[in-house]
Subunit: 233 residues, 2 copies
DNA sequence: TATTTTAGTGTATTTTTTACACTAAGGATT
DNA sequence: AATCCTTAGTGTAAAAAATACACTAAAATA
């Protein structure tokens, strides 16, 4: 039984998609890691990834990785960067297209509580040694995230459809790594016009219950179409 | 005489690096295009590109493309995005890692005046029909450039080592597509501390001669190390 | 009922952004 | 040589945004 062989007149690299999947536990940002089952780097923690299939776009590959490792769908993914040093993989020449994924709070909890998944949420300040160049991938993703949240509402993808302003603030503080004044943050973020206040309030909280808000996707699209340069913070 | 054959147990895509090479003629931004010599898209204008070689990083491949098409070196290059739709190339599965390159004014003139090169500078508002998905690549590069020049001195890579503030302003206006007040632009850009005024002035200009300035790379590195969030504009 | 813990609110001050006119200085023309 | 033309460089006033900060309201808990 001989396996299929693919032949080319020139050397071809393999191409993988590796995913830096962020989640937010209400306090801090975490990243999803898996333990490799085979060499190279067997037993090492690594980012979830897969080889790109022939008839599959890169975005679709990223989405497939997420579906396979997290059993969730509807995760916002965005390409980060392509890592292409010749020696990054000892097996052969492998180029990796790194993607960032953003898991919403409720899904974050589902993943955390699902013992059948082989994936774990890890705090960013306590990462284990990682396989390949995955540590560099995470650093680059954080750097991108910290830059982007100032002018794109990308962080919102980590929150549920309904969220409170204090939750949003905690998210921004976790990503930027610094405290923000509650009054000023509220004023600034509301001035963007991107939030719709709902009639619903938090329940069962030992303090004043906060109103829920939702992201106004339509308003955002309109601002983008008008070419407005956003400054969320 | 049989040619070498490369065999793999799984299908492997081909990977190219395509370069959106920007130049500045003092008034507007231009992009460097070449005419394809062979199918697919023979005779079509396209971005310069090449297949990634096995022992070559992606950055090195981009630099090689620039060296080959422009006969210049020392061009600042930066990865843009990886285009990976399955049908983007009719020959086979080809994934393209797009890079942006920034050619300084003096080199821009050298390339424009070199009849031996097969490459032409084209104005961005009069682009011909392009091969593959190269039009989309250019659009994405412009979008990136327009966003980045607000908080990274990337536009400076299009200017010579010595430049005047009116030249820098014209560059910003060309990229952003809008007029900026000269007094305000000067005040703002000087307030960043990233420019060193030289003793030298323009010569042979039929108006008041402007001082030359240089970019202060050291100061920029320091600000980056301190984690300062730059707002150039 | 009292306590605790926020969520929401507004003011004063400082800084930045925005809008705008005039003089200085170089080459070209008369 | 004088004049003209074309910017380069400069600063002020007003508006807007950013920064810093205290108190009341409202929910659960003891």
């Amino acid at each position: 039984m001989s396996e299929p062989i693919f032949q080319y007149r020139h050397p071809h690299p393999a191409v993988t998609v590796d995913c830096i999947i962020f989640g937010f536990d209400g306090l801090q940002i975490k990243v999803l890691l898996v333990q490799r089952k085979s060499e190279p780097f067997a037993q090492h923690w690594a980012l979830p990834g897969a080889f790109v299939q022939t008839d599959e776009s890169l975005d679709a590959c990223a989405t497939r990785v997420l579906q396979k490792e997290c059993s969730i769908s509807g995760v916002y993914v965005e390409q980060l960067y392509t890592f292409g040093l010749p020696e990054r993989d000892p097996r052969e020449r492998v180029i990796s297209v790194a993607y960032m994924g953003f898991v919403k709070t409720t899904d974050f909890q589902l993943i955390a509580g699902n013992n059948e998944l082989q994936a774990d949420w890890q705090a960013l300040d306590q990462l284990p040694v990682l396989a390949f160049d995955h540590h560099a991938m995470i650093q680059k993703a954080l750097e991108r995230l910290r830059g982007k949240i100032r002018y794109q509402p990308i962080g919102f993808e980590l929150l549920d459809v309904k969220f409170t302003i204090p939750q949003l603030q905690q998210l921004y503080e976790a990503i930027l790594g610094k405290n923000l004044d509650r009054r000023n943050f509220r004023k600034k973020i509301l001035s963007t016009g991107l939030l719709k206040q709902l009639d619903e309030k938090q329940q069962n909280v030992a303090h004043k219950a906060a109103y829920f808000f939702a992201f106004d996707q339509q308003q955002y699209q309109q601002l983008m179409q008008e070419g407005i340069y956003l400054e969320l913070l």
